[in-house]
Symmetry: C2
Subunit: 149 residues, 2 copies
């Protein structure tokens, strides 16, 4: 059988307004309609919706996701483009993880900084320790890319 837009949206965890918006933007070229004009989502269409959400999490724009969905719709002649796209996505996600890791180092430095400041009642305390090079080792490597606020 097939899902209504409401059921498909709920299965994926997005509002129906969003699903209609994606359809209007050409991200769902595969979704069929009933005789009376209602959208009918097959299981594979629900999976397509899930794929859209996945690609969004990789930081892809709706415009680029539309390109991919239309490649899917065109069939086997676009397999290479789709493969290349996933290789690019892998690169992109890996560097996002790397960037977040480095951001996390900075945040952890700040956690230490403010723990120390709160304990002393003033941020002069951690500031002086930093000036004296007196920081936990875990923290001091993050201090290289560091700041005063």
């Amino acid at each position: 059988m097939s899902y209504s837009i409401g059921a498909a949206a709920e299965a994926v965890g997005v509002p129906t307004s969003t699903v209609r918006y994606y359809d209007k933007e050409g991200l769902l070229p595969f979704v069929k309609r009933s005789d009376s004009g209602l959208r009918q989502f097959e299981d594979s269409d629900v999976d397509g919706l899930r794929m859209i959400e996945c690609l969004k999490r990789t930081g892809m724009s709706l415009k680029d996701i539309r390109q991919f969905m239309q490649w899917c719709h065109e069939g086997d002649s676009t397999l290479r483009e789709r493969r290349d796209m996933f290789y690019e996505r892998r690169e992109a996600v890996e560097s996002q993880i790397e960037e977040l890791r480095s951001t996390l180092d900075t945040i952890e430095y700040k956690c230490w900084f403010y723990d120390t400041a709160v304990a002393a009642g003033t941020d002069s305390a951690p500031r002086e320790m930093v000036a004296a090079g007196d920081m936990p080792p875990r923290i001091s490597k993050a201090h290289d890319r560091m700041m005063a606020r």
Copy 2:
């Protein structure tokens, strides 16, 4: 000495228009002006700008970053709030990394899927292997949260 807006912006790697926008939005309450009205960035102000960029990378909104910058401006009475904020940010970044990791699993499944499809000239090939449970082990765990496109 002090930096012009152009020098400060270049040091941090953002356009001057962005720095002016942040100032207008109250994210730079500490930046002083010369007698003639030009902004004068001290080293600590440039660090403040860098901190804004860092917090943005953690997914924080400008509105919340403004709150933090104003706490900084208010001095030691807001140390606890600032510490708590960084603890929250740490949590947030850790879960973003987790989510990206899981997204990466899905993307890697798709890389395998399309490698197999391109080699065979059709996506029926990987589809059938999936149906038969015939996937590399690294890949099959990602297949649990999987899709058809």
